[in-house]
Symmetry: C2
Subunit: 378 residues, 2 copies
């Protein structure tokens, strides 16, 4: 017997395939219009089937957040991979192994100390690494600011040390804190112009800078022009989530990932239904807490995906979720959602919720489910 | 070559074995003094080696939060198992399968509707389930309050329906919101007396109630007497964490679980070191946020486990952690923690952090590491 939404065990991580395909097409079309290559960040899904759908949609290469992802995707035929986390010296051996097996793996640095470690290891082992310099265009995390002396210093360490200077990359992660089109467009332009400025400084110094890579889901979707940029990276757009809904780059109806759950109890006088999706299923991510609308641990939908407005997962223990209505308690909740009722919960943060599951259940429009594995760990 | 803290890949979930053994001994000794059986909740570790250490320490039976845990522990010879989450009707088949393979699996209900589903399934399949009634002694989640009519109603549905009334159980989860010995002792007494009262009501009605099961780590450790209680359950005590430190039932030096991490970059002017443990390693749990001391995403320690007072993981993205000093920025941080430096981070919530890893690295006092698997998913 094939599994269906009525028979599969819960909690389960559902991917609504038609929504995912729509999200992929939307992003790719935007990138095509802007005239840039698109390199999806596969840390969101960690799933071969999802990355293949992105590639089939027109993506060129992938971005990864761990060398385990690089390993797994390379084993499935993805050869153009950017490891977009600053290189730790102890991982250089693994990176070199991947390259020597045929993986075009780009690595990242944002400081003289780590650049020197790359050069030293590369020289000792006769390996010419492709290295991108991480640029900080919004102050949210790592990278060198476009005007800093360190930018040229790092570039010279790499170049003079015999490494291949692949280019510059930046990620405007602070776009996640915005929620108006104007602010997002401005952040996209700040991300673009800062990264292009860094590239220009390298070129002005006679250094090569083939790649100018920018991106986050909000800035990718809101950028009006990407002059000087060669590629864009984005991850969560493939599923979207409630954080992205609050930022304003999708609606609830675009969210392709949800958690299928079962009602296991009630506290009727409090207006609570207890479901079998706690934080182990949803993750502890409370990304909407400080946004314009707080969805608790998630937005409740009927099993067919219809948003049940006002019903949220208001609390979560490890394997228990508390489902309630915002505002006045729904004292008829036990009749509305009897024991055994199946519901879907839209997540705050698709990357975090997906990571709680060893596999996805990919739902087709005919109601059939297909199991898609995902990687866990490092 | 055997792995050591200097060679193993990061992030890694370390268990300091001597601390874990001390935590196990402390809890078991307390239970022995109070004259009750101890049934650890293995949802914290989801690890056979940890549960065996608890059993070797004197524990009798285990508590699980999913049937997958029941399955995995049963396969390793644990036969006395309480599934401490309200029974969903669609899981009765799996529960029966486990019982028929020799697992003494107890299941839970807290309402007439679910009790009827258990009876109906049991009768249709000739199975006499062992069923405990969940009692609500603190209003934090599920269960029937000791004085509610529903208590006897559910008991009669089960008894008259031919099921075995195993007893009553409660979990005072709201103990996690307290942080003084007085309040914790009072909550332990509230948990005990409420559960014993529920048991008494069943016995007064001529029903059997062999098991009176209570517990949470804070109440188990702070209870002064447990008259009428037959067994205690607790989970997180085996590792402890910063939430438990703030509640007041352990110190930082008791915390047996930490995340080994590597410094991968700096923003020296901001006083930041960037490490390779983001929320994918630590989890998104911010359990100390509303407690007496907020540790961000975790307390930083040197690689040998010494607490570096004032240094916390102040921010976390998926694979990036931002490490900084509380108060004035440490502008000498790049020299203090150069690229490649290894550190340990104590977690807010051991159950959530452990769940991010496919395995633990168990550290012996001689510095050797042993890999202990843990289960993932449902």
């Amino acid at each position: 017997m094939n599994n269906t939404l009525a028979t599969i065990d819960t909690p389960a991580a559902l991917i609504e395939r038609s929504r995912m395909q729509r999200n992929i097409a939307r992003m790719q079309q935007r990138m095509n219009e802007l005239g840039v290559r698109f390199r999806p960040h596969v840390k969101t899904s960690k799933c071969i089937a999802v990355a293949k759908a992105q590639r089939d949609g027109g993506a060129q290469g992938i971005t990864v957040s761990t060398l385990k992802e690089a390993e797994q995707f390379f084993a499935e035929g993805f050869t153009d991979i950017l490891y977009a986390v600053g290189m730790a010296p102890h991982r250089l051996q693994h990176a070199m192994d991947l390259r020597r097996r045929g993986c075009a793996l780009g690595i990242l640095t944002d400081g003289v100390e780590s650049a020197r470690a790359i050069v030293e290891f590369g020289r000792a082992n006769g390996e010419v690494f492709d290295v991108l310099i991480e640029v900080d265009t919004d102050g949210h995390r790592s990278g060198i600011r476009p005007e800093e002396d360190a930018l040229l210093e790092v570039a010279h360490v790499l170049h003079d040390g015999g490494m291949r200077l692949g280019g510059v990359m930046t990620h405007a992660g602070s776009s996640y804190e915005l929620d108006t089109p104007e602010a997002l467009r401005a952040m996209a332009e700040q991300e673009r112009s800062g990264c292009v400025r860094a590239a220009q400084r390298l070129r002005d110094a006679g250094l090569s800078c083939p790649v100018v890579s920018v991106g986050s889901t909000p800035t990718a979707l809101m950028a009006e022009a990407l002059e000087g940029v060669t590629e864009v990276r984005a991850g969560v757009y493939v599923f979207f989530d409630l954080v992205m809904r609050n930022i304003g780059v999708c609606t609830e109806d675009d969210i392709a990932l949800s958690v299928l759950t079962t009602v296991i109890g009630h506290q009727a006088d409090k207006g609570w239904a207890i479901v079998d999706s706690g934080w182990m299923a949803m993750s502890r991510d409370r990304g909407t807490q400080k946004q314009k609308r707080d969805f608790g641990y998630g937005q409740v939908c009927s099993v067919d995906g219809t948003v049940l407005d006002g019903y949220v997962l208001s609390g979560a223990n490890q394997e228990h979720g508390i489902l309630s209505r915002e505002g006045a308690p729904d004292t008829g909740i036990a009749a509305r959602f009897p024991i055994g009722t199946r519901l879907r919960i839209l997540p705050n943060h698709a990357c975090a919720t997906g990571a709680q599951f060893p596999e996805y259940q990919a739902l087709s429009e005919d109601g059939s489910l297909e199991t898609w594995g995902r990687f866990h760990g490092w």
